[in-house]
């Protein structure tokens, strides 16, 4: 069979890739069936009315027109964005900070029991199932018997009303999502450990302070990976803020913590508007993509700049 690279180079590239790497097939099939196909389906449903009982009915851009005037959705996007703006830097600070503290010079004092306990503790919150984690926080934040409001009371700090006032509930949501940083911690730890010891020793011999070494050497060298973690965290926080919002705050009070995924869930499964919910989903995906694009671009640029010979 003759090839027509000018007509369909992409297709022939994929065919060649599949031929060369049969081991990639399970993964390719998996992403096709579990990610790409549902995504395509959602994108198609976004232009229909669909309630799950009858076949979807094509309605053109009607859903988009409704979306443009949907205050509730844009408010929910605002809540998601607000939470992301606070939670993502907080999560990165915790993950990178823990990685810097728990990655000492190898063979020196980086293998002791203290380090092992510290590393395990940093990872542990990510092992707890999301629902259990959410219920745990529901107890911690509870205004009647929760330990955190009680502690604040003892310290004389006014209780922000974690589950009862709009800003208190948003703060509660931030707290719930801030500590599950195990994966990011491990990636940051690997990035920190990959920096050759001599780069820090050279600064030490030159008389540079620990602060100088961290700000001029450690963090700049970790920057590309931290940016990738930021992208991942934006996705995690925006798309996965669903469980804590559903179980801890229930979107309330007064829609103060009604995040975009929770709204979409309600549209789809409480109101049964599967078509319109698809429109919202795809819109949220596009918005997240836009938010993630800049840090990804910056990460690629920085990585290319500091690429060293092997």
């Amino acid at each position: 069979m003759r090839r027509h690279p000018a007509i369909a180079p992409g297709i022939w590239g994929v065919v060649a890739a599949i031929r060369r790497w049969p081991l990639a097939m399970p993964y390719l099939l998996g992403s096709l069936l579990l990610v790409l196909a549902p995504l395509a389906l959602a994108a198609a449903l976004a232009f229909t009315d669909y309630f799950g009982f009858r076949a979807p009915e094509f309605t053109g851009v009607a859903n988009l027109a409704r979306l443009a005037g949907d205050r509730t959705f844009w408010d929910a996007v605002g809540v998601s964005a607000l939470v992301a703006v606070v939670v993502v830097p907080l999560r990165l600070l915790l993950a990178v900070g823990a990685a810097l503290l728990l990655a000492r010079r190898p063979g020196f004092d980086g293998r002791g029991a203290t380090t092992a306990v510290g590393r395990t503790s940093a990872y542990l919150p990510s092992v707890i199932p999301d629902a259990a984690w959410a219920l745990l926080w529901l107890w911690i934040l509870n205004p009647l018997y929760g330990p955190l409001p009680a502690l604040l009371g003892v310290l004389g700090v006014p209780d922000p009303g974690f589950l009862t006032t709009p800003w208190g509930a948003r703060l509660g949501l931030v707290l719930v999502m801030a500590f599950q940083v195990g994966e990011a911690f491990i990636v940051a730890l690997a990035a920190r450990t990959a920096i050759p010891a001599r780069l820090h020793e050279a600064i030490e011999v030159e008389g540079g302070s620990a602060w100088f070494a961290m700000t001029r050497v450690t963090l700049p060298l970790m920057a590309p990976i931290v940016l990738v973690l930021a992208v991942r965290d934006v996705v995690v926080v925006v798309q996965n803020a669903f469980v804590p919002a559903l179980l801890v705050t229930g979107g309330g009070p007064a829609n103060a913590t009604l995040t975009a995924p929770l709204l979409i869930y309600r549209r789809a499964f409480e109101y049964g508007e599967l078509g319109y919910a698809s429109t919202l989903s795809v819109t949220l995906l596009v918005l997240t993509g836009i938010a993630a694009a800049f840090p990804l671009w910056l990460a690629a640029r920085l990585a290319a700049r500091q690429r060293t010979r092997a």
Partner: protein, 342 residues
């Protein structure tokens, strides 16, 4: 200015298994304006010694004295010591100019002042054209020049080099040796250069310290080390080729350098018997080395082979019967039991 290391001792505790003694009572001195080369096989403790002087490694016992000041417990940054690493330790996210100036910046100099100094030093070392590049765009030799510039820009009390030419190709290594000497002369401070390369040690050192298993075996001028090695270990470690060591009568080991062995072919009439001090045997291997060649022969009745360096024109063939001999004054005599020179 001077550097003294007194009775330095350092153990590394392996997690499993025995201790590793990296430094076992090392005494060493580098005088003002002197280039002291520390040479030894890998894991002989030479890098640990250098790191202990820099302050990157603590000593279990002993002292490091710089300029008559005991700095054993002084942190690395306040010892006023410059160190060039084997891999140059350049920062991949910064340009060459920033890399040269990073030490000055670390010590709190202003950006403008540092930029001016960087240009001056780059001019001296003839690397001005590299200033705008990134480290990833440099060759091995260029990287080490940048590392040298980082030393030049400050005026340290002691300058330490940890195998700086190990990752530089052979031709450039020859030139870089001269450049390092020039830097050392212009700084006028004691310089300690660690290497495993004999040729480099011989060519560069004012004095050479031969290390093995955490001890300094001998420290002297290259000529003296070559002419009168103190022990059999020095005789094998130091020199362009390891010395031949042949067991002889009376608890003595006879040493003779491969380049001082003369060959007479057995058929030439010199006979299978080479007479006093000589050996007869057959050639088991011949390695060409340009104008010269290296022959390995097995003297009759022994299993310790003998290296001979001779002109390529006189190269024997494998299997040839040869007789070798040497002048009495080229013969070194060591105690068979202690390995010390007699």
């Amino acid at each position: 200015m001077s550097l003294r290391i007194e009775a330095a001792h350092k153990d590394f505790r392996a997690r499993r298994g025995a201790h590793v003694v990296a430094l076992d009572g090392v005494d060493l001195e580098a005088r003002d304006g002197e280039l002291l080369v520390v040479v030894g096989p890998s894991a002989s403790g030479k890098s640990t010694l250098l790191r202990a002087v820099a302050g990157l490694e603590s000593l279990d016992a002993g002292r490091v004295v710089i300029d008559d000041r005991d700095v054993t417990d002084v942190p690395a940054g306040r010892r006023d010591v410059a160190l060039v690493f084997q891999e140059a330790a350049l920062y991949p996210h910064q340009g060459v100019a920033a890399n040269i100036g990073i030490g000055e910046r670390a010590r709190g100099s202003r950006r403008r002042a540092v930029e001016t100094r960087v240009r001056e030093v780059a001019r001296t070392l003839d690397i001005e054209h590299l200033l705008e590049r990134m480290p990833a765009e440099l060759s091995g030799g260029e990287r080490q020049r940048v590392a040298l510039a980082r030393v030049m820009i400050r005026s340290p009390k002691v300058c330490l080099l940890d195998e700086p030419l190990a990752s530089v190709d052979a031709e450039l290594r020859l030139r870089m040796r001269g450049e390092i000497r020039a830097v050392q002369r212009s700084l006028g401070v004691p310089m300690v250069h660690v290497t495993h390369d004999q040729v480099e040690a011989m060519a560069m050192g004012d004095r050479v310290a031969v290390m093995d298993a955490g001890r300094v075996l001998q420290c002297d001028t290259p000529a003296e080390l070559y002419a009168r090695p103190a022990t059999t270990a020095v005789a094998r470690i130091f020199g362009p080729l390891p010395m031949n060591l042949l067991p002889a009568a009376g608890g003595v080991v006879v040493g003779v350098r491969p380049e001082r062995v003369r060959v007479c072919r057995a058929e030439d009439g010199a006979g299978g018997d080479a007479g006093d001090g000589g050996r007869a045997g057959s050639v088991v291997a011949v390695e060409p080395a340009g104008e010269e060649c290296l022959a390995r022969m097995l003297p009759d009745g022994t299993d310790a082979d003998l290296l001979v360096r001779l002109a390529w024109a006189d190269a024997p063939r494998v299997g040839d019967r040869v007789a070798v001999a040497w002048r009495p004054e080229d013969e070194h005599r060591f105690d068979a039991a202690t390995g010390e020179r007699r």
